[in-house]
């Protein structure tokens, strides 16, 4: 159970994450279709996600915000492009402004989720993300970096305290 492969193509700016789970497709689908479940895994512990609205139909939207340790709340927006429960989901994921519009900080990324039955039971869930440009990828990572760093910083606080520069 869990991650089985990560394939990255720096020229095409895509990443494909493959995972396998000992649950049926309907259960795996709930990770995406149930907003309370989605918010439990989407954001890291230091930046928990809150799904504010969740309309998982073609043309629908999912609005979410993440809350940082300093109270900052970056917002995100999915535009739902394709839904075939419990098999396939395609959304574009963008940074949102305070009115839940695409903030234009970076071009949205395209995310495709496919859930297939595995021989002998369980499912293979594949997530493919395509970035519109290197800049869009940079923005995404810069955001993640800030979030990751906050976490890392908390962990190494004691190291820093014992080794003043």
């Amino acid at each position: 159970m869990g991650l089985t492969s990560v394939v990255k193509d720096p020229e095409a700016l895509t990443m494909t994450v493959t995972s396998e789970w000992d649950v049926d497709a309907e259960r795996a689908w709930q990770l995406w279709a149930d907003p309370r479940q989605l918010e439990r895994w989407w954001g890291p512990p230091a930046y928990p996600a809150t799904v504010v609205s969740h309309d998982l139909v073609p043309g629908g939207r999912v609005n979410y915000l993440m809350t940082g340790p300093e109270g900052d709340q970056p917002k995100g927006l999915w535009e739902v492009l394709e839904v075939q429960a419990p098999r396939r989901l395609v959304v574009s994921d963008a940074f949102a402004d305070d009115d839940w519009n695409d903030s234009g900080i970076a071009a949205p990324m395209l995310m495709t989720v496919d859930i297939a039955d595995r021989d002998g039971g369980g499912v293979v869930m594949t997530m493919t993300t395509t970035f519109a440009s290197a800049e869009a990828l940079e923005q995404m990572v810069a955001m993640g970096m800030e979030e990751g760093l906050t976490e890392a910083m908390a962990q190494i606080e004691s190291v820093l305290a014992s080794q003043p520069a």
């Binding site: 159970m1 869990g2 991650l3 990560v6 990255k8 720096p10 020229e11 700016l13 990443m15 994450v17 995972s19 789970w21 000992d22 649950v23 259960r27 795996a28 990770l31 479940q37 439990r40 895994w41 989407w42 954001g43 890291p44 930046y47 997530m127 993300t129 290197a134 800049e135 990828l137 940079e138 923005q139 995404m140 990572v141 810069a142 955001m143 993640g144 970096m145 800030e146 979030e147 990751g148 760093l149 906050t150 976490e151 890392a152 910083m153 190494i156 190291v159 820093l160 080794q163 520069a165």
Partner: protein, 121 residues
């Protein structure tokens, strides 16, 4: 998303303890982290950076010097201006960024697993 440390450790390929110390020290300050974030995507002059923070140009220059020492940014002179940019270039940059993005997803998959373990049906 847990990506930060990995990303920054990738910036320097072979790292000594002293370099790790410099890196952690450089990133232990919120202003310096913000400068790294901004200069990843755009080149900034020191004076443009100084306008972003409630501090003097001299103070910002000191922050930039700490970041440069840690290998996180580079400085170049253009006329009277000093321009600051993130250190990675081109396809290598895309590769490192995708590595950092991978860490985001590794964290997500771990959390999915915990959720499915807890509530498998």
């Amino acid at each position: 998303m847990g990506s930060g440390l990995t990303y920054n450790l990738m910036v320097v390929d072979q790292i000594s303890d002293a370099e790790v110390d410099r890196l952690f020290f450089a990133l232990a300050d919120a202003t310096r982290r913000d400068i790294v974030r901004r200069t990843l995507t755009d080149e900034f002059s020191v004076s443009a950076l100084a306008r972003q923070y409630p501090m003097s140009i001299t103070a910002v220059q000191k922050h930039v010097a700490v970041l440069e020492e840690a290998g996180l940014v580079t400085r170049r002179k253009e006329g009277r201006e000093q321009r600051v940019s993130g250190r990675l270039e081109g396809i290598e940059k895309a590769r490192s960024l995708l590595d950092a993005y991978e860490e985001i997803w590794r964290g997500r998959i771990d959390r999915m697993g915990a959720l499915l373990d807890e509530d498998p049906a």
